[in-house]
């Protein structure tokens, strides 16, 4: 499950990247809505967000892009974005337009269950999954609550920290996943800091899905002025991730 930021570096290329990732074996795309102040993100995704915003990407454009992509692919797409642009648009309007565009789920990293009521009200009765995050600091009580509110899957944040590439997978992931499993049957996907096929394979042994963001965004950044290499590098990398994961997880 790869993450890319919509509009990084352009909306047209985001479309190409998304289709490439699907061909390379992705099972779901986490599609970022850029934000000016992404406090849960490390420098790699911050820069992607800045590139996208400097190109003028708006939330409407992201929804339009998903809508037009729906003519070509039905791969599940979850939008990942900070709350303010959604709040500004109107939570109800956003949810309605997301459903109309063909979005399957929404992940809002700065919206904990405590503040989620407007979102939950807006999605009740429409087909939009709300994916909440469990962190290494979450207590059992909170995990129960988060699992209850999550639809689609539960996003397990593997590190106490922001998004980014890391050398090793934190040892706590496996105990976190078992803890979450003890409270729910919903699928658990692990993200934050998973950056190589080996790490993805390792995580796949315990989780139902593996989310890779910064490592892919870094390849986009490296090839900003060479579209062809960008798409090739991303494809090759995603194929490697997918192969590693699928040896473990049988769909």
């Amino acid at each position: 499950m790869p993450y890319i930021c919509a509009g990084d570096p352009t909306l047209d290329l985001s479309r190409e990247l998304l289709l490439t990732l699907e061909e390379a074996g992705a099972d779901l795309i986490e599609f970022g809505i850029p934000f000016s102040d992404p406090i849960a993100d490390g420098p790699i995704i911050q820069k992607a967000s800045e590139r996208s915003l400097s190109g003028g990407t708006s939330i409407d454009q992201v929804l339009n892009l998903v809508s037009s992509l729906r003519k070509e692919t039905d791969i599940p797409i979850a939008l990942m974005g900070y709350y303010n642009p959604i709040f500004r648009m109107g939570v109800d309007t956003f949810c309605q337009q997301a459903v109309d565009a063909g979005v399957d789920g929404v992940i809002i990293p700065d919206l904990p269950p405590e503040e989620a009521e407007p979102l939950l009200e807006s999605v009740s009765g429409c087909n939009l999954a709300t994916i909440f995050l469990v962190a290494p600091t979450s207590t059992s009580n909170r995990i129960v609550k988060i699992a209850e509110l999550s639809k689609g899957f539960i996003y397990c944040v593997s590190v106490t920290g922001v998004t980014g590439v890391r050398d090793v997978i934190s040892g706590q992931v496996s105990s976190m996943v078992s803890e979450i499993r003890s409270h729910t049957d919903k699928p658990i996907c692990v993200g934050f800091g998973v950056s190589t096929p080996e790490q993805a394979k390792q995580v796949a042994q315990i989780a139902d899905g593996v989310i890779v963001g910064s490592a892919i965004v870094k390849m986009i950044e490296k090839n900003l002025f060479d579209e062809l290499s960008m798409l090739q590098d991303v494809r090759r990398f995603a194929e490697g991730l997918s192969k590693g994961v699928k040896e473990i997880i049988v769909p």
């Binding site: 102040d37 849960a40 642009p85």
Partner: protein
């Protein structure tokens, strides 16, 4: 009637709340619990009071500015002298309170954001005093504007970390300190310097700063035998303003006026008047007025004074504005320079550029008031740190 704001989940009406990554939620809950336990603990209050008196130098005077009053020829003007506190601004009140709280929570490392550097200096000061590791995030642009404060922080053993992302000012320093906290939350206390951020920060900072208003209220009653007509303070994030406003909240006859930075001008778009010209959004963990575009991207703020250069504002101010309990106005960069000069020349007090905005506002309204009316200005900080900026604005070479 005692005010019960915020509610149990940290909301002031529709404002406030906790819009943060899940990683931080347990830490905010832990902080809230720790704070609730000390809030009514007399031992803590005695300790806090001790340091406010013996270390920070409180209570500071409520000073009748007779020459300023005479010069403006209208309302009687009093100055609450927060500039006389140790470290030269109101920021020390909150820094002392939070450091005592962090010690009780067993935190070994303190991080903070700073704009003008006053909060950074206050934090570095209390960390030196209580021997805690201290790292201060400061925008690269502010580091240049406020080199004196950077040097002060370093002298006291703090590490100043330049922030190069975004607009390289206070907003980005806050982002970076929150990212650090997300990463090191188990060992680290984030010592927020204003009444902003997720619950319980706005209430913690308000309570620690409300010593300003409590003293002011007692002092004006003792000196004049009545309450003031107006209480005026500058507003960036809004901590000195809430500190002096809050104890007057239920005194309905007292008009509360916050002065925001109008920057180049509110119409130009280059300003920091989030209450005057912003709209409701979710920023740095709370619902509040914020400067933002149509699509919810935060717009960089601008002000000649680094301490006001912030696109958001505290949720409690947002609530006061929405309910009309306080009124918010703005003063532009060049007017603030006039305020800076005015107080220096009439009272021999060089105010911080932040405070100078409030001085300039008083200069514009006091002459129309009558001599029986009383206006109190929160003189939130001293202006030594700003002399280079002011010299530059006046084309003077130092």
């Amino acid at each position: 009637m005692k005010q019960t704001m915020p509610d149990k989940t940290g909301h002031f009406g529709e404002f406030g709340g906790r819009y943060v990554p899940e990683t931080l939620m347990p830490a905010l809950l832990e902080l809230e619990e720790a704070y609730m336990s000390i809030k009514n603990d007399s031992e803590f209050q005695v300790e806090f009071d001790y340091y406010l008196r013996q270390y920070a130098g409180r209570p500071n005077p409520l000073y009748y500015a007779d020459r300023l009053t005479e010069k403006l020829g209208g309302a009687k003007i009093y100055l609450k002298r927060e500039d006389l506190n140790h470290t030269g601004a109101h920021k020390i009140n909150n820094a002392l309170g939070q450091i005592l709280l962090a010690r009780r929570m067993g935190k070994k490392r303190i991080i903070a954001e700073t704009g003008a550097g006053q909060h950074g200096v206050a934090t570095a000061t209390v960390c030196a005093k209580f021997n805690l590791e201290c790292e201060i995030y400061m925008g690269e642009e502010d580091i240049q504007r406020q080199s004196l404060n950077v040097f002060r922080m370093r002298l006291m053993g703090a590490t100043v970390i330049p922030v190069t992302s975004g607009s390289r000012t206070l907003k980005d320093a806050v982002n970076e300190s929150m990212r650090d906290w997300v990463t090191n939350v188990r060992t680290t206390h984030l010592l927020i310097g204003s009444v902003v951020g997720a619950h319980p920060y706005p209430v913690i900072v308000r309570d620690f700063q409300s010593v300003i208003g409590k003293e002011t209220r007692e002092q004006i009653l003792a000196q004049e035998g009545c309450l003031p007509d107006q209480v005026i303070a500058c507003v960036g994030g809004g901590s000195n303003a809430i500190g002096i406003f809050y104890p007057f909240y239920h005194d309905e006859s007292v008009e509360l006026i916050g002065v925001e930075a109008g920057g180049e001008s509110v119409l130009s778009g280059n300003h920091s008047a989030s209450l005057g010209a912003g709209s409701i959004g979710v920023f740095h963990g709370a619902k509040c007025y914020v400067l933002q575009g149509e699509d919810g991207q935060i717009t960089p703020a601008h002000s000649i004074s680094a301490g006001l250069d912030y696109p958001g504002v505290g949720p409690e101010h947002s609530f006061y504005r929405a309910t009309g309990r306080a009124k918010y106005v703005s003063i532009e960069d060049d007017e603030s320079i006039e305020g800076f000069k005015l107080l220096s020349e009439t009272e021999g007090i060089i105010p911080a550029l932040e405070t100078s905005h409030a001085v300039a506002y008083i200069a514009s309204v006091a002459p129309q008031m009558n001599p029986s009316q009383i206006v109190i200005l929160c003189l939130s900080g001293r202006g030594d740190k700003d002399v280079y900026t002011v010299a530059e604005a006046l084309n003077v070479e130092l």
